[in-house]
Amino acid sequence: MICAENLQKRFGNVAAVDGASFTAADGAVTGLLGPNGAGKTTSLRMIYGLMKPDGGAITVDGQDITADPQAVQARIGVLPDQSGLYGRLTPREHIRYFGNLHGLRGAELENSIEKWIDLLDLKGVAGRRVAGFSHGERTKVALARALVHNPQNILLDEPTNGLDVMSTRAVREVIRRLKAEGRCVLFSSHVMQEVSALCDRIVVMAAGRIVAKGTADELLAITGMGSLEDAFVSLAGPQGAAANGEIA
């Protein structure tokens, strides 16, 4: 369970995030939808504790991120916008490294490693160095690495960006599985289809503000549009962001 309340973040004169409030519930997939530069990545970075908010409050499972960042980080798994792998290490070594840093050891760790290698279809490449991997394979390794400690809360920054069909499908299956296990999944995207295919709740963000929240049907009702894409454009487009500022 992730709660963000009135988040503020400025870079110089630019308000990257300007009073964003939203929650992501357990056992649900929450989509943070918005065009490029809307403040999605900055919001996620504040939630996973690598950026300090200028204002507002964040709690993860009731714990304040600023009070004890490490306690929160132990409860979250993150796929940042860059996979950031080590070219000379194998997928198994990547996952083991992060598992170790989360305090996992022995059989518990090895079982978890094999579980994620299996679920993400990495068996064939698990012993090879990642230097020559495709974008899809790299993303899956980064995802397995982020999930090795079986976190209750999962943050994914544009997880399926630039992936082929097979990899996208594997990632989606993992997201559905996490939801079924009662975990809290928050992921950002600027791709309509992605969000509508996976999300229970959608938070639409534009120019640092939350412009709408709700299920896909609710968003259609708010905007009076026939398709989710039209709804998104009317909410997050340049006019929409200004006009709909109050809806949120």
């Binding site: 970075r45 996973y48 504790g49 690598l50 950026m51 300090k52 490490q70 306690a71 980080q73 132990a74 979250i76 993150v78 940042p80 860059q82 996979s83 950031g84 792998l85 080590y86 070219g87 000379r88 290490l89 070594e93 490294y97 992060f98 170790n100 840093l101 989360h102 305090g103 050891r105 160095r129 980064a142 690495r145 982020a146």
Partner: protein
């Protein structure tokens, strides 16, 4: 938990580092470069010493001074050769090391007991010729003294009258210490090994981590920043220490095969000296990687970090070279300054003196403190948003 995060990070960085061919090459290069240069330098010195004893002397105008030329020819290791027509050009072009020119007036002046003119042509920019020229001028001075003495005796005067001074040179340095000044290059190569062997890991695991975008996921683990930094440092420090020990062992091997006795050097790198040297240089293996890690935090890329590390090498090696050139070594204050302390204590060890345990302990404490401060600063930098996300 049976493995602390520091050890987890250090193990990963070592594994990652040693799979990188660049780090293997750097360690091998720094470990072999020093010993090769040392063996080259010493064998060059040995041949030079031998060459100075045997000189081939082109003489122009030997017909004007048969007395002098015969006397020179009788000296051991001197071979008289006919001189070139243009002595100046011959020396400048390197065709002759030196040329002795005897003027036409020599016979007449010599007969009248007036100073008879001779010229020695040599090129002072050719350092290798210097010992030979010195030998020749020494021979001429001896001829001068012998002839002058004989002339005085003929005139019924004791030659001692013409020697108001009796100069005796007393060199207080024993041969071990003389050797030590030569052997100080050993220390230079040890410090270089410390600086280069850990460099790949310290730069790649910090600036490289940033460049690859892997810093952000790493910082998401529930581990304090300082422990991550300490792990990276520990890996680099182990590599630096290993590289230094490897270099020292190879140097010791090479030196045991060099004709050091011919140079009056009796210094052998026995096991006791090797251990003491390792103890002496070890604090550098704590400090140098810490400085590299700290500097790398400012670098946006692995290459930028490498250029900072290169400047660091120059900063550390130059004091050693300067203290060597100006014979600054072994002032007590030096033992309080990092790097100079290692040079100073190391010179003592190579010179056959036993270093004071207090000095060794102080240098070790200093190394730990300096490394800790640098790591603390680096950990603070690692918390800055600009460093984590700025690329």
């Amino acid at each position: 938990m049976n493995l602390s995060p520091i050890a987890v990070v250090a193990r990963k960085e070592l594994m990652d580092g040693f799979r990188d061919r660049r780090s293997i090459y750097t360690i091998l290069f720094s470990a072999l470069f020093g010993p090769l240069l040392i063996s080259f330098m010493f064998s060059q010195l040995a041949t030079q010493n031998k060459a100075a004893q045997e000189i081939r002397l082109p003489v122009l105008g030997s017909e004007y001074a048969p007395v002098l030329v015969n006397w020179l020819a009788q000296q051991s290791g001197v071979e008289i050769a006919p001189g070139p027509a243009d002595p100046e050009a011959a020396v400048r072009d390197g065709k002759a090391d030196m040329v002795l020119v005897i003027k036409k007036e020599f016979g007449e002046d010599f007969g009248e007991s007036k100073p008879a003119p001779v010229q020695v042509f040599s090129d002072s920019t050719h350092h290798s010729v210097e010992p030979k020229v010195r030998r020749l001028t020494l021979l001429l001075t001896r001829f001068n003294a012998e002839m002058g003495g004989m002339r005085l005796i003929v005139r019924g005067v004791s030659p001692q009258v013409a020697s108001p001074l009796k100069v005796e040179e007393v060199d207080v340095a024993n041969s071990q210490q003389r050797a030590a000044t030569l052997l100080n290059v050993v220390l230079m190569f040890l410090t270089m090994a410390v600086l280069t062997a850990g460099m790949q890991i310290s730069t790649d695991s910090t600036a490289g981590e940033r460049e690859r975008g892997s810093l952000e996921p790493l910082l998401l683990n529930p581990v304090p920043r300082w422990q991550l930094i300490a792990g990276k440092w520990a890996a680099a420090a182990l590599a630096a220490f290993g590289g230094m020990v490897l270099t020292l062992l190879i140097i010791a091997q090479v030196m045991s095969r060099l004709p050091l006795e011919e140079l009056g050097v009796r210094s052998h790198l026995g096991l006791d000296k090797i251990c003491l040297l390792i103890l002496t240089v070890a604090p550098l293996a704590l400090m140098a990687p810490a400085a590299q890690v700290y500097l790398s935090c400012f670098a946006k890329s692995y290459k930028e970090a490498q250029s900072y590390a290169a400047i660091l090498i120059a900063m550390v090696v130059i004091p050693g070279v300067v203290s060597e050139l100006y014979s600054l070594s072994n002032q007590p204050w030096m033992q309080t300054i990092p790097v100079l302390a290692q040079y100073s204590i190391g010179t003592d060890i190579l010179g056959g003196k036993t270093p004071s345990p207090v000095g060794l302990v102080l240098a070790a404490i200093e190394g730990v403190v300096v490394a800790a401060v640098l790591l603390w600063l680096a950990a603070r930098l690692f918390s800055r948003e600009k460093i984590i996300f700025g690329r």
